[in-house]
Symmetry: C2
Subunit: 559 residues, 2 copies
């Protein structure tokens, strides 16, 4: 809960397990938990977070590896629960620091990881495991349990040490009739619950949502209606990892006598992997290359692409902006068969409006059941808590509102409030003799990837960007001869992003000249002092004339 | 639909009515429609649009008054359908140009307008009308019909000229059991329908939503459950104009023996107006001043404030950020009894997360029915179309996706596709002998209010802001003596918002010096030419070293 920042933790007691999240608590993304026992470390997940609008220009946000940066040799392995970016996306940046860390996960997860790492020119030491496997990684005994999620082959992870038993759900839901028949292993959860789970780390994403998530199969009649009504092309946008959703689209295309083409790099790559490994079935002759799509009659074509989150460079955004060979019109139907990730609303609606403007029919989760969530809602979480009967609970994978709601769900089925821990990234939990205590805090921050740089962009740069982006800047350049007390060149006054540019230089030049000359006459002999005076005179002029606060960049040089 | 830009319209034929929207088509906001007959103009609504994230730093966006700017003397009146900002907010900027334009509307609408205009030191010529009134404004006969919306006293407007009959719904829904018993006047709509409506202009906001909007009263049991469960304070955030929503909160407070306080300037002001005019009823002794709130026991207090859209300076955002005397904790309940306007998601969830982090229970439309929309859904629109039986339809008040969906609804009840017009701001429609034709296009753009300036901020400034906000800038100042072919001062290299600042100046100085000296040696004698060379060398260095594209601002002065 809201707590004063905690002190640094004491040394880890013998026989105790330490747990620290380096990301994923208080945010949906950059999931990464570090487990420590007897001087050895085990990492569960290593994901990225996508930036929000107050983090402009940032490409990705990584977990803060700081607390383990000088202990990477002690890492036994990275265990991955599933292949989504928010669980695997930061792996290239961790393996850059030590490429031979073993990477453990299911077959599909590791295939996606290897494809990603190839782009970073890293060949990881992968160790595939099956559902139900129990393996030993240093002092950690790790058991893997099947869970159902919006990507195949997801797993929960149970970690046994002499300190006690921890169960980490990963991302999961409890669809009782999933496409692949692989349901969340409640029998396994029950067995662990009977054995005694000391700490349950639980996906919080949908804890605010009452009831149960609809089954993936409930999308079938909706897709069927869309296909029945569609006169021309059908364009389906979804996540490139949602194999089951795409399987349903393919099945529906087969039913309605249409062929399908994958468009977009990640979609083509991932569907190739899923097909090679047997997770995706495409009837013979149904798949066409996207280049051959134009040769099909419109009413026999289904195009499957990414861009469901409104990404500006995606195929879908380019179609919407008439910046793509495919020109949609009133006979075409576009289906956004995906969630709308908070923060992407404007981008997504911009794409939908662009498509609607050209007359296309757009079907999305706002007007039809073409998406179901991959995360357990409150009703499912209650089953989980009652089956596992954990001694303590740590809500993970969520913003504060989700973790708070998850804590409420846990308490609603009788788990004592004192045993439901709301922690933030960097909070140190120690487990000993089955008891979890909050032991302290290690400082962690946001690590920004921007262009080629990792960590170059700081909070200060982002603050500057926010000011520049809202208000623009005014720069004033003056060269002075301090000995003679005279302006040698300038002032040159420039404004960008400010707005009323035209009148600016004229109105300001005189004031700047006056301020600088007065300062020099008063004996000012420091460039910094002159700059301060310029900043003040420009700032108050802009505020009084325009009620605005652009960044003011005075540069004085001695000539 | 998607059409090539149209030519300028021909002169308006005698006996024809011309209709041009200066805002509100393709966007939710800045609603403004201009009607022209026999050389006279009638304006319906004059609202603002709130900026999106790709319009950084902008305070407000106005309709483009350009097409009528030199014809304001011909305006008979501005008719207002209701008192929401997206229908009245631009009035101060129009009346600044001609303060004596008569302003016609219902009692509450005009009271809100007068309060707003007082802040702009404008005393408008207001002309209140009641439901059912028929008035003459120059060549226009205007009839007002009651409609139900999320603010009391909203009206539809029927405009009769010899050219035909136009019905403009304004914003409306069809709650059959509204709090004030004032239902949408379907009898009036039926009478007009039987008379023959030549053009129906229809609110599109909720056309994508199937079915019917729940009644405002369905919130009662939800609020009751919230009040029953609440142990400490209850803080309700809503729109300062949603009189009925706030009435329900007050009624619930009375039922549960709590007192209420209004907090925030617009909430205090508007509720004062609503109460004075008899739209809001507060039982005696129940209202306390916000300063006296602290003296009440927590479980007897209800605080009603704005901030439901996450506005950073609002009371609610300040409470969430621990930047307000009220410190919420685990016993407190916060209710966001409002819609979540698209584009505000991040801001709203930031506030909810802040509150959840301090332990407060947050109830919002995502987890409980504490809000119903103010706009007719598709089912209601079908009633409208079948009752009015319009000859032609113009979907208004919506983004393209909403207008497209509204067109589909109209066609679904049998209105011919050729008679459903999808137009954009500036599209000119002419009505003659009951027939609507698209006559051309007048150029309209976005008019940005930023600080004290109206229209100073251009698309070019916004483009600069976007680059600055994403990438920051690098500025390079050099003073040269062109005659001597030498650098006199500098280069001074500064970067803001860029990120890897530290190494920048060192790495670049030499390259800039070299580029400038080479240029001077080659006989370059134009400042502009030198600046171009600096831009090129810096740009390619940054791209190759950092894969980034900051704004590069080279300034060369002659000393």
């Amino acid at each position: 809960m809201s707590r004063a920042r905690l002190p640094a933790p004491p040394d880890l007691a013998e026989g105790a397990l330490r747990i620290v999240a380096l990301g994923g608590l208080g945010e949906i993304g950059r999931n990464m938990a570090v487990f420590e026992f007897a001087g050895r470390l085990l990492v569960v997940d290593c994901g990225v977070l996508f930036p929000e609008e107050d983090q402009p220009g940032v490409d990705l946000i990584l977990p803060d590896f700081g607390p383990i940066a000088d202990r990477l040799d002690e890492v036994e392995a990275v265990v991955l629960t599933h292949g989504h970016e928010d669980h695997i996306g930061a792996l290239p940046y961790l393996l850059r620091l030590r490429p031979d860390i073993p990477v453990v996960g299911s077959k599909l997860t590791l295939a996606l990881v290897e494809a990603k790492l190839r782009e970073h020119r890293i060949a990881p030491d992968v160790r595939p495991v099956d559902d139900g496997a129990v393996i030993t990684l240093g002092p950690f005994e790790v058991e893997f349990l099947a869970v159902n999620h919006s990507i195949p082959d997801a797993m929960a992870v149970a970690i046994r040490t002499p300190a006690g038993l921890v169960l980490h759900t990963g991302d999961f839901k409890m669809d009782q009739v999933p496409l692949d028949g692989r349901i969340t292993d409640l029998n396994g959860f029950a067995r662990l619950g009977d054995e005694g789970v000391d700490l349950l780390m639980v996906d919080s994403t949908n804890a605010e949502v009452p009831g149960f998530v609809s089954s993936e199969k409930e999308i079938v009649p909706v897709l069927d209606a869309v296909f029945l009504r569609a006169q021309g092309r059908i364009i389906v946008a979804s996540f490139a990892s949602h194999v089951h959703r795409i399987q349903q689209v393919i099945d529906m295309a087969a039913l309605h006598g249409r062929k399908v083409a994958f468009v977009g790099r990640s979609m083509v790559r991932n569907m190739g992997i899923a097909r090679d490994l047997g997770y995706l079935r495409i009837p013979g002759g149904m798949l066409v290359a996207s280049d051959d799509l134009a040769e099909l009659p419109d009413d026999e074509a289904v195009l499957i692409c990414t861009g469901s989150q409104g990404e500006p460079m995606s195929v879908l955004a380019r179609i919407a902006g008439r910046n793509h060979p495919i020109t949609v019109g009133p006979t075409d139907t576009v289906v956004l068969a995906s969630s709308l990730i908070p923060g992407n609303e404007n981008a997504v609606f911009r794409v939908i409006n662009g498509l609607a403007r050209h007359g296309a029919h757009v079907v999305h989760k706002g007007n039809a059941l073409v998406h179901v969530s991959g995360h357990a809602a409150a009703g499912e979480l209650r089953y989980l808590y009652n089956i596992v009967k954990p001694r303590s609970v740590l809500p993970v994978h969520g913003e504060w509102r989700h973790m708070r709601a998850n804590a409420d769900v846990a308490q609603s089925v009788g788990i004592d409030a004192d045993r439901v821990i709301l922690a933030e990234d960097g909070t140190v939990l120690d487990l000993q003799d089955g008891e979890v205590t909050v032991a302290g805090y290690v400082p962690v921050g946001f690590v920004y990837v921007d262009g080629a740089g990792v960590g170059d962009v700081t909070e200060a740069s982002l603050k500057d960007r926010r000011v520049l982006g809202e208000e623009g800047f005014i720069s004033v350049f003056v060269a002075v001869d301090i000995v003679d007390g005279a302006i040698v060149a300038g002032p040159e006054i420039h404004a960008r992003g400010f707005g009323p540019d035209d009148t600016l230089a004229g109105a300001l030049t005189e004031q700047v000249v006056e301020a600088v000359e007065r300062a020099l006459a008063e004996g000012a002999d420091e460039v910094h002092d002159l700059q301060q005076r310029i900043r003040r005179v420009v700032g108050s002029w802009v505020q009084s004339q325009h009620r605005r606060r652009p960044m003011i960049v005075p540069v004085v040089v001695e000539a």
